[in-house]
């Protein structure tokens, strides 16, 4: 057992527990706080797996931006809005789909585990220069990375125009 195991196991447990809370929480605010804990645990896992840049990105984009946007939306929702309960059929269907998906994932991922060893303390992995080279080399991820810019623009325009259409109707 390597020295990485205890912190990784702790972060995994926190990520799972908070994920469960997000799914099961009744109140929306509780779910958002659980989502915050979840994204922090995931960021800790990234940092432990020598992905410093991704960990910082997770902290800024997820724990910072996305969770705050969720908080604002929850705060803007009508107060005491009717919480539709889950019908038993839906619960059964959800649990069955989750278990089937879990089984498929385990059977699919199991062959990948055999003999996979973590590269021991390789400082060359996860450096900003190395990740940046992957993002900006034309035969690697340059095209997907550049396409995220128009994607974000379209998302912003879409969100604004959704709201503007509502304004016009009312």
């Amino acid at each position: 057992m390597d020295s990485l195991f205890p912190p990784v196991a702790a972060a995994c447990v926190v990520a799972f527990a908070s994920g469960l809370m997000v799914v099961a929480a009744r109140g929306a605010i509780r779910a958002v706080v659980a989502l915050l804990a979840h994204s922090l645990a995931i960021a800790a896992l990234y940092a432990l797996l020598a992905a410093g840049l991704v960990a910082v990105g997770q902290l800024l984009i997820y724990s910072g931006a996305i969770v705050v946007v969720f908080l604002f939306v929850v705060a803007l929702l009508p107060p005491g809005g009717r919480q539709l309960g889950s019908q038993p059929v839906r619960v059964t269907a959800g649990v069955v789909v989750g278990l089937v998906l879990l089984g498929a994932l385990i059977t699919g991922l199991a062959p990948a585990v055999g003999g996979t060893q973590l590269v021991a303390a390789d400082t060359a992995i996860g450096s900003v220069a190395g990740v940046g080279r992957q993002l900006f080399e034309y035969d690697k991820l340059l095209v997907p990375f550049e396409l995220t810019a128009p994607l974000l623009l379209v998302a912003i325009i879409g969100a604004v125009s959704l709201w503007r259409r509502q304004e016009a109707q009312s």
Partner: protein, 100 residues
Amino acid sequence: MLTTLMVLATSAVLFALGATGVMLRRNPVAMLMCVEIMLNAGNLVLVLGSRARGNDGGQAAALVVLVIAAAEAVVGLGLALVLFRNREPVDVDEPRTVRG
């Protein structure tokens, strides 16, 4: 080996958990949160693979996924707000207090 297995199992369980949540919840905001859990689970495998193979490509892909998740959250939450607005009046100019 054990660490790899632990992270891989966590991400598989989280993905299934998120999928269950999407099926279970009827609140659009809660569904979006479950989708975020699924995205995180996928990202975790990318980062783990990057570490196990000693290749930065997985981390770069994880960064791209993070940006896409942000765009998805913006559009999804905009839709959720419109949905709620159609049921009951919510005017962003009206509320004087922010409540949970």
